[in-house]
Amino acid sequence: MSHGLVQLAYLVATVLFIFALHWMNTPATARKGVYAGVAAMTIAIVVTWAQPEVVHHGWIALAILAGFVVGVPLSRVPLTAVPQRTALSHAFGGLAAGLVGTAKYYLWFSEGPENLTTFRMVAIIVEVVLGFLTFTGSLMAAGKLQEVKWIPQRPVTYPFQNLSNLALLAAALLAGVLLTMHPGADWAPKVFPIIIALALAFGVLLIIPIGGADMPTVIAILNSYAGLAAVAMGFVLDNKLLITAGALDGSSGLILAIIMCRAMNRSFTNVLFGAFGQTQQVKAGGDQKEYKSETIEGGAQVLEQSNLVVIVPGYGMAVAQAQHKVRELYDQLKKRGVTVKFAIHPVAGRMPGHMNVLLAEADIPYTDLVEMDEINPEMPQADVALVVGANDVVNPAARTDHSSPIYGMPIIDADKARTVFAIKRSKNPGFAGIDNELYFSDRTWMLFGDAKNVVGELVKQLSGPGMH
């Protein structure tokens, strides 16, 4: 195949990738986007495989087959596990970039150091450092999300943490500069693995101090890194398709990370170096405030007589696997002519958009999933705000309490609804340790118990014979 044809095919693939993302702007066209993406990828693979320089085919076929064998089961994980899967695929992306960069370095070194121009060396170092730190960083993130035993969930901090992490990165970059200046030296092939090791270590240490609540941002940032690693690979291989596709991925991760940071009123550096969970240490004690609790019967009655019920879901809903019961409640209320809406906070869940996917799986139409900025003006008209497994995202302290770690974070105004029902597992202070004033408001009544059970009981009560 001539060079021109290959480039033409790559250009077509690029355009298809852009359309794939463009069609994601509404759920109505989104699936078309997937088909465009698959078409583009198929074109890219076939054309590349058909290049004359590719002479060994056995390993390629084997690796592609292995990719299918592992990839298909990975696509069937439960939706609660999608954040882990996503983190894992960032790890794979980083690994691929790091390995190709390494392979290219040793190849060019063996063919003669004159191949290792300054430009290529810089690109390779960037690719390898980004690739391998994304690899271990994402593995750590996936481990934390999967709650693997030997990876601590809570942020781990130690003295001079940021300083030593930065020193590690600086050492990797310094070694990179050294290699770039003397690419042909005898010692060069021995320094290269040191760079890899430093990048791998940096990835681990970067994620260790980050807690669960910050995972949506971290996943988005790692997404961006994986894209940028692909861009660097494009520079190494002189391949503009790689650069474009990598840049699309990189900017996507960046935008999602910015949205997540804004939704928490925090900066990038604060998320990456702030060890947020640490400030959440239980500051309970002092005056014991009283919860008011409501019975299932009473709760069901109020719900039934409402016009507008706003359900505020959080990660706790997913943990309790309550989303299907929530859908039954939605059905029961709808049947009685009650308007039911879901208020979705951007950082609810463990990755961007996580709640929407879980609720869509439970068969709730996406037209009733309303984002924070649109639902907040409606909250004063809501008869009931039902908080299911959400906590920080409805904590009014974010508006009023300057000393609160979440001060300034935009929240869903659940407290402005006429009545608030909050489902909570026990009367003990929550795991996160931040007091939630909402629970002690005049309008709030607690429904104690497991989210799935409580919602299930409400449904039973509503569908029971006495309630028509």
């Binding site: 320089e53 996503t86 691929a96 991925d249 990189g250």
Partner: protein, 102 residues
Amino acid sequence: MTQTLDFWSMMFVFVLASFIGVGVIRRVSRLLHTPLMSITNAISAIAVVGSIIVTGADYPEGIRILGAIALFASMTNIVSGFLITDRMLKMFKSERKTADRK
């Protein structure tokens, strides 16, 4: 000389593609941010292109092994990324066909 030209043309492609990326991604529905992340995962696995060459060209075996592992990793991302995106998107419906399935 050609090399610096290459560098700049690649830089142009990178910067322009990033702007297109920002423009397109900003319009993606917030409902779909999780599927967006899984589809961009699959798309950035375009690294497959580099891995195929490294695996299949007439290079020393050690280098081709690295390529094969990279190819496996990218292919896993492509397959699982596109499949799971489609699986999630299928779930987004604008209205329920039946009001009550029980």
